[in-house]
Every structure is written in structure tokens, then in C-alpha cells.
């Protein structure tokens, strides 16, 4: 149980003053305040599980990548026993960054300042001039290692936390795990990264990106309208909807959890009808998955899905699979089905982390995935499709990265910082009939409940001492 600790900001405002639970509003100030930023690094990023990458980025013993857990730099390394460790990338001697490369392979991470050396698991090996004992005698060697985070792997995804005795990753996922399993545990071979992540900086507060990641579907209708004008969702003359109206694409179910994880489960029925000409209600999940397999899966791989998942999850995957959503605090997943000009559908699998780099800056990291067993030619098509639509040059996401800086900038205005963001479009009908999964579920057009759950958990952590 969290201990409540209301913090008063320098001007007398409390964190709870920023959020109105009755009317579901958040003061705009939350999107820029430097004081809040410092607290977020301590109370959120140093407390919850943070997504750092995928084990296939470091397949060999000694492989490492450098990453960030909030404002802290870490080394993610595989040791001689194939275990993955996450250690603070700060030398306990004089606070030099120990590993200065983005990636590499080594069994000894040596600080270039005074030569203190560490194993991939963070243990102190020694310092130069051993006979003169230049690491001193006051602190024993076993206490001179790099500070170690607690690590958990899930579907090859690497998560770490500084909350050594806190909840497990599974507890943190909570009800979201049922759904995450359908994305990350699809095959025995598992997912693999198709290369290192893209990285670029945006002059925006991390929360602008992350609250959107909590399954905001509303913004797509305007911000991504081009998709329906000339892009993949441009309407054929005989199709439903009008012109660039993307709203038919926004129906389905949304799921949110008490830990701020969110999923937009977008309905596939229209695509199934287009591909088969049949009523989806008359097709079994196996039949639907075979005509429209999840991203990275071919029809030949569908029998493996049928073995690995229960009826409920298969129903979900063939009816309303999670396609976009976030894991709190700073992750986004996109497992999307993109129509191609030739009438086929190609999937894309991508994960983002939005790394806080100050109240006004974030780093956007984009990893692109396929199943290890995805045939090479399909992998190549998925990769090109993903690069063209998502991340750095992504025709979809360049609109998002241009929006967040404006939000961050205007949130500094004396007047504008006092107005509120509104999360008042409510799901009022609960889960659809026959919904197989747990969590809070809403049926129909995208609403605000998922993002509101994100802010509620933000508030819970920000007002918790322990």
C-alpha cells in the first residue's frame, strides 16, 4: 500500500491541486513544471518498472547497450552465464560515466577516468595499481560495484526497476498481462528486433507523448487525417464512410488498468469482410486468423497460435486485437495492420520509449520487431513499412512529434497553465458482450477513460512516499 505524502510545490500548490477527480481534469501546468519533473524522476522513474529494450539486442555473452531509466543512465549487459543485468552507469569512485559507447561487447567495463573495472553484472573487479590499493581500504570490494537494478524479462523485453522489494513485473502489468501475452508471447521463437532503435530528440515534456500513448484514439481523426486522404486508409469510392473520415477505424474496445496501462483493441471485422466477403460471425477464430494473421505471422504459423492461446485470447486476437497502447510510464506499442495498395495487409510491430531529458525535452526511441520465425521477405517488408510510417521519418508519427512541443511551450503561460485538460468523454456501456479479457473495458468508439487512468496512476505515484 502506498503511503500518502502530499507534496507542496514552491508556490503553495499541492500535486492534488493539479488534478480534479470529480470532473476528470488536469491542470495544464503539469505538462511543463520543472519542480514536478524532479519529483517524477524520483517517484515514478526510480520506482516503477521501466522498459529498456529487448534481449535480442544483446544476443551474445558480453554484449551490452547503454540506456536510460528516467534521468539515470544504465548499462544493460549479458554476462558469461547469459543472465541480463542492469547497472547504474556511474562509477562509484568519481561519478564518471563508465560505459560511453551505445553498444558493444566486453567482459570488463572499465571507467576511463581512473581505471576502475566492473563485470557485466556490475560487480567491482579492481582498480589499477592493486599493490598500492588505489580503491582504498575503507569500503570493501564487494560494496564498490555499480548500483544494480532489479531486472525482469517478459517475452524478451527487458524491464528494470530500482524498487528492489516492490511489486513484481507481473503484478505491475496486472490485468494488462492477459492482453500483452497476445502481442509478445505469440510464438515459441519469440520476437526479435530488426535492428537498433531509432533515436531523436523532441523539445517536449515526456508526459505529452506518454499520456497520448495511453490509447488516445481521438487525435487520429484530425492529426492523422492524411491517412484517409491519400494514405493507407484512403477510401475506395464504394467504401463506407466519407472521404478522409477515419472514424470507422476507431471502433472496437479499449482496456485500461489501475497501473495506467492502456490498450486500443481495434475491430478487424471490416477488414475480414473485405478479404473474405463473408460475415465474420460465421467464421471461427482460426479461420479469421488464417485470412488475417497478426503482424509478423503467416497463415502457416497460425496453428502455433491455436496451440499457445486459450479460446478467449484467440477470440480477442481474431476480433479486436490490441493494436496501439501504452505501458506506464513511458512505453508505447504498435502492433498494427496496414492496408497495402494491392489489397493485402502488412503488419508492423514497434515499441517506443519516451525518455525524459528535462522538463522540455524527450528522447524518442523506436524499436522495430518481427517474430524470429517471420519469413525474411516478410520481415523486410514489415521493416520498410514501419520505417516509412513510424518513428523518425514516419509519415504518421511526424505529426505527433510536432504537436508535443507546442503543448509543452503553451503550458508555461501564466494564464494557460491554470486552465485544464479534459478527459470527460466516458465509456458508459462497459465491456461488449462476450468480451474474454479482464481489466476495465469500454465498448465502442475511442474515449478518454484510458488516458484518465494514466493520470490517476501518475497522481497516485506522485503523492506516494514509499
Amino acid at each position: 500500500m502506498h503511503q500518502h505524502a502530499e507534496t507542496t510545490l514552491r508556490d503553495g500548490t499541492t500535486i492534488s491541486d493539479l488534478i480534479n477527480h470529480e470532473t476528470r481534469e488536469v491542470k495544464v501546468r503539469a505538462l511543463s513544471d520543472p519542480e514536478l519533473y524532479e519529483l517524477e524522476m524520483e517517484r515514478i522513474f526510480a520506482k516503477t518498472w521501466i522498459f529498456l529494450g529487448h534481449e535480442t539486442e544483446i544476443p551474445n555473452k558480453g554484449d551490452f547497450v547503454t540506456r536510460d531509466m528516467g534521468s539515470d543512465a544504465v548499462i544493460v549487459a549479458r554476462d558469461r552465464d547469459n543472465e541480463i543485468h542492469v547497472s547504474l552507469n556511474v562509477c562509484p569512485h568519481r561519478a564518471m560515466r563508465v560505459q560511453t559507447h551505445d553498444a558493444g561487447n566486453t567482459n570488463v567495463h572499465m571507467c576511463i577516468y581512473h581505471g576502475w573495472a566492473f563485470k557485466p553484472n556490475g560487480d567491482f573487479i579492481g582498480a589499477p595499481i592493486e599493490k598500492e590499493c588505489m580503491h582504498g581500504k575503507m569500503t570493501p570490494k564487494d560494496q564498490l560495484g555499480l548500483k544494480k537494478a532489479r531486472v525482469a524479462l517478459y517475452g524478451g523485453l527487458i524491464f528494470a526497476t530500482w524498487n528492489i522489494d516492490g511489486p513484481s513485473l507481473e503484478e505491475f502489468f496486472g490485468d494488462a498481462k492477459y492482453y500483452f501475452d497476445t502481442l509478445f508471447l505469440r510464438t515459441k521463437g519469440g520476437l526479435e528486433v530488426l535492428g537498433p532503435p531509432q533515436r531523436f530528440r523532441i523539445n517536449a515534456n515526456w508526459k505529452t507523448a506518454c499520456e497520448q500513448s495511453a490509447a488516445d484514439g481521438f487525435h487520429t481523426l484530425t492529426l492523422h487525417r492524411w491517412l484517409g486522404e491519400v494514405g493507407p486508409y484512403a477510401k475506395k469510392p464504394d467504401a463506407e464512410g466519407k472521404g478522409a473520415d477515419l472514424s470507422p477505424e476507431m471502433y472496437g474496445s479499449e482496456v485500461w488498468t489501475d497501473h495506467g496501462h492502456a490498450l486500443r483493441c481495434i475491430e478487424l471485422d471490416r477488414k475480414i469482410v473485405r478479404l473474405t466477403g463473408k460475415d465474420p460471425a460465421e467464421l471461427t477464430p482460426a479461420e479469421k486468423l488464417t485470412v488475417l494473421p497478426p503482424p509478423g505471422i503467416t497463415p502457416a504459423m497460425v496453428p502455433e497460435l491455436l496451440e499457445r492461446f486459450d479460446d478467449g485470447q484467440l477470440k480477442l486476437m481474431s476480433w479486436r486485437p490490441p493494436q496501439v497502447g501504452g505501458f506506464f510510464p513511458n512505453g508505447l506499442f504498435e502492433f498494427i495492420y496496414l492496408p497495402q495498395p494491392d489489397g493485402t495487409i502488412i503488419g508492423a510491430c514497434a515499441l517506443h520509449a519516451y525518455i525524459p531529458k528535462g522538463p522540455d525535452k524527450l528522447e524518442f526511441m523506436n524499436w522495430i520487431f518481427a517474430e524470429k520465425d517471420t519469413p525474411p521477405e516478410l520481415k523486410a517488408r514489415m521493416l520498410r513499412q514501419s520505417v516509412q510510417m513510424l518513428g523518425t521519418s514516419g509519415m504518421v508519427e511526424m505529426e505527433d512529434s510536432d504537436t508535443w512541443p507546442h503543448q509543452t511551450e503553451v503550458a508555461k503561460g501564466a494564464m494557460s497553465k491554470t486552465i485544464t485538460m479534459k478527459y470527460q468523454a466516458l465509456f458508459e456501456n462497459g465491456a461488449p458482450e462476450g468480451w474474454p479479457g479482464p481489466g476495465h473495458v469500454g465498448d465502442g468508439f475511442t474515449k478518454d477513460d484510458t488516458q484518465w487512468a494514466w493520470w490517476k496512476y501518475w497522481h497516485e505515484l506522485m503523492t506516494s512516499e514509499k
Binding site: 560511453t100 559507447h101 551505445d102 553498444a103 558493444g104 528486433v193 530488426l194 535492428g195 537498433p196 532503435p197 531509432q198 533515436r199 531523436f200 530528440r201 523532441i202 523539445n203 484530425t222 492529426l223 492523422h224 487525417r225 492524411w226 486522404e229 491519400v230 494514405g231 478522409a244 495498395p341 528522447e363 524499436w367 522495430i368 525474411p376 521477405e377 520481415k379 523486410a380 521493416l383 520498410r384 520505417v387 516509412q388 518513428g391 523518425t392 521519418s393 514516419g394 509519415m395 508519427e397 511526424m398 505529426e399 512529434s401 510536432d402 504537436t403 512541443p405
Partner: protein, 189 residues
Amino acid sequence: MEKNPLEPRPLPPSLRANRVPVGSPLYNDMVEFMYDEAELFDTLRLRDWIAMVAKDIEYTVPLRHTRATRDQDKSVVRTVQHMYDDYRSIMLRVMRVMDTRSAWGEDPPSRTKHMVSNIRVYRTDKEDEFKVHSYLLMTRNRFDHDKFDLIPCERHDVIRKTESGYQLARREVIIDQAVLGTPNLGIFL
């Protein structure tokens, strides 16, 4: 070994023996091509630019990695890249900006300057294709920002001579930053 299907078409080598002298008519043609292209980009005449692009183009921007001096060959990453375009996706980018009213990432458009320098031209083993190696410093400014995003990079191009003039057939842009200091590549490099 089978070619990695994720990797784009390799560029011909820059052999000093194949250098086209600075100031020669062919060299001047290439310089004019580069300057004309920069002007089309910076004045948003993207449809005119498309006419300078070959149908079989591959347009890629590798990732950069900070690696040790001895591992510099690993500092350019050609699996996942920042851009990975063919003619169709380039056309879609152009249509997005020119034919819709919702390409907000470039509406209003960035103000850019493509400053091309250090141009070197090489003959290749194909008579009608030339490799052009250049430096590009691009400045990008948006809205009322007082700062410029700087994108310093080098370009390795293949320019093809056709009946209708020269065309860009292959471009690889190697950016100097491991972490880009611009919020997207909604512009062409």
C-alpha cells in the same frame, strides 16, 4: 552468404582513380544537379523534384552508433534506418504534403536551407551512372523558434544520365548525430 534482405542496395565504391576532375563538364553537370535539387527542396517544389528521381530509387538514411575507434565500421547501421524509401513511398510523402490539407508536420512547412559542398564525382562500372559524394548541412526552422535544427551529413548518391536528363537513382545519407536533434525527418535530405 545470402544477402541480408533487410539491407538496401550497396553503393559503388569511391575509387580515386575514377574521380571526375573538378571543373570538367560532367563535374559541372553534377554540381548543377545538386544545386537545382537543393533549390527545389527549399522552395517546396517537390513535384518538380520527383521528375529528377528514377523509378527504381532507393533512398536510405542509416542509423549512427557511438562505437570505439576500432569498431568504426559498426558505427553506421544499415538494418533499421531513419529512412528507407522507394519511389512509391517517396511519392506518398510528396502527395501527403502537396495534395492534402492535413500534413501538419510540414504545414506550415519548415524553412530549410540545403547547403551542399565538398562535391566529388566518380565514374562507376556503369557508363551512364555516376557516384556523387557530397556534404550537406541542412538548417531547419519552424514556427517562431529562434533556434535552427542542424542536420550535418554526407550524401552518397548515384546519378544516372537518361534521355530526359539526369536522375537520382540511389541516395544514402549518413547523419553525424547518433541521436537526431530534429523532431522528425519530414523533410528530404
